[in-house]
Symmetry: C2
Subunit: 339 residues, 2 copies
């Protein structure tokens, strides 16, 4: 895949001191939404993810969550004159050097597929309409995720790639001014980005996936580690629903970006190959693309952990406690051969 780091952005980034970035987290669409039900959030999963994120980011173990979503409760009109000044915020209690990127799941994918946004042609009425519909869908999900994080006391701020100026050229990142994202990080906020409908220099428009966004950010900002939270335990050698599916525990990546399975050792003479499931509606490439994006991050020396959201395994991965592929940790580690 062509080098997507645009020179102008590198220059812009060099102007600013490189922020301390501990981790970039991908919230997979399948992990936090109900896949086959249009625009339906998996509330329980999202809640657990937020709790685990807060624990991973906590600056002091005893700090209690200070809710930052002060919205009106559904159906409960509040007379504004009843609101008192807020005085009980003595501390935030989190160190916020995380970036979070989420997928669309059952928000956006359907709208994009129906109208062909990923294929371009934004001048066409149907595609233009689909672009608008897709953005409404993904930004509504973004808002709900920001709310959930804020309720957990995480100082989350939504930053939609389209609005921030991310654009593509033949579906690779062409420009992405991350100076505002860096300032937000340095001010102590947690930027929440997402897969989005964006403008494309050649084909007019396309869908920019959360995975490509993460890879681009990792290349520019060099986090300590990256965690992908999904709805399955990790990468398998065949569709996970197959009873014979084997969890790939460790994948090593060399300097050219080529990857091989280290653990478990697969018997190639029996023709065991990795057959990756690609969901039909996922317009951005599915699991195989995810491994490729993860490999491009790992070859920089950044460990990537893919595991199931809301488990003890995701909790340890988010805290940065997982090294290599421990026997008592279920998930996939993708790392450089040099690590």
């Amino acid at each position: 895949m062509a080098n997507s780091v645009e020179n102008q952005n590198q220059h812009k980034t060099l102007d600013l001191p490189k922020p301390k970035l501990r981790c970039i987290v991908k919230l997979g669409g399948a992990a936090i939404t109900r896949k086959n039900e249009l625009e339906s959030i998996n509330e329980e999963s999202l809640g657990t993810v937020c709790t685990q994120l807060r624990k991973a980011m906590a600056s002091s173990p005893a700090a209690r969550a200070a809710g930052m979503d002060w919205s009106r409760r559904k159906g409960n009109p509040i007379n504004a004159s009843d609101l008192d000044p807020v005085t009980e915020f003595s501390e935030i209690g989190v160190d916020s050097d995380f970036i979070i990127v989420h997928g669309a799941g059952s928000f956006g994918h359907f709208h994009a597929s129906r109208s062909g946004v990923h294929k371009g042609g934004v001048h066409l009425p149907l595609v233009k309409a689909g672009f608008v519909a897709t953005r409404i869908s993904v930004t509504s999900l973004n808002l709900e995720i920001v709310r959930a994080l804020a309720q957990e006391g995480i100082p989350a701020v939504g930053m939609s790639p389209f609005a921030c100026g991310w654009s593509t050229r033949e579906r690779n990142v062409a420009s992405a001014d991350i100076s505002q994202l860096i300032k937000a990080l340095q001010t102590g906020f947690v930027p929440i980005l997402h897969g989005d409908a964006v403008l494309d220099d050649l084909q007019g428009c396309t869908i920019l996936s959360g995975d490509v966004i993460i890879r681009h950010l990792a290349q520019l900002l060099m986090p300590d580690y990256v965690v992908f939270l999904t709805d399955v335990l990790g990468v398998y050698d065949r569709p996970p629903t197959d009873p014979n599916a084997i969890l790939l525990r460790e994948i090593a990546v060399d300097e050219d970006g080529d990857w091989s399975i280290v653990k478990p050792a697969l018997d190639h003479s029996k023709g065991q190959d990795v057959e990756i499931t690609v969901a039909a509606h996922d317009t951005t490439g599915g699991m195989e693309t995810k491994i490729q994006e993860a490999a491009m991050i790992a070859k920089l020396g950044i460990d990537v952990f893919i595991t199931k959201a809301g488990t003890e395994y995701s909790e340890r991965a988010l805290k940065g406690e997982v090294r290599h592929a421990p026997d008592d940790w279920l998930g996939t580690v993708i790392r450089s051969v040099r690590h």
Copy 2:
């Protein structure tokens, strides 16, 4: 007020061909939300505003609205496999050379006031929490307005100033990269911006008002005209609830930005002065600031119309049919003395 057009932005804008911009519209928070009820939209008013906007933007009188909000109906789970590809979009039917900016109304103002975001100090836990809460509130309103416009067939795309990189210095616009906004316009979308919590170079953070955003955009992009939609007929010489209040029909602005009331002719010997209502909770300056911002736009030769949303007067103003201050048009025109 200091010149807020930052050199770097002028340079960036000169790189791009200036887009054709017919009108910038301000949707006043008081016009589309219920002022004293926290986070409550005035659905009827918003609906009428969107219908009028569509009529003003229609490229062909007979074009029917093609809804672009494909969300799940509240409470109605949709099985995604039931969705068919959309084929009935033959035309959009609007010429989209408008920009819309909305205020916060009962979304955001309370959160900002409670925590003092407008006064700065983003390193303080309370202010940081208030910043997050304010952004959640204003972006949720932005989403609802984008939905309402999209349902009316207007290709609206939300562009939050904080995410787009708008920032202030001592509360004046310090930087605002509008290149993405220009690209969106040129692609045929209608950008929807809003008053937002932003970073401030000196005081850490503040609230950037929709009125300042409009003035900044007008200076850079030179629209044909600007319309402010409010909850009263225009600017009055005293609080409009006063039975003796007089509607100021026409205000003329000279090259220095000084303004005077042209119509009606006020008797200064009786000490009739303009006493402008400033709502206590409005953290961005109220009506007097609005006249000053409007005057700064008018002195560039751009006519500004302030009138009540959802009336025949707003409909005519949006269509660009109002010249000077006709006897049968109720509202306030603010124009250059040279017009």
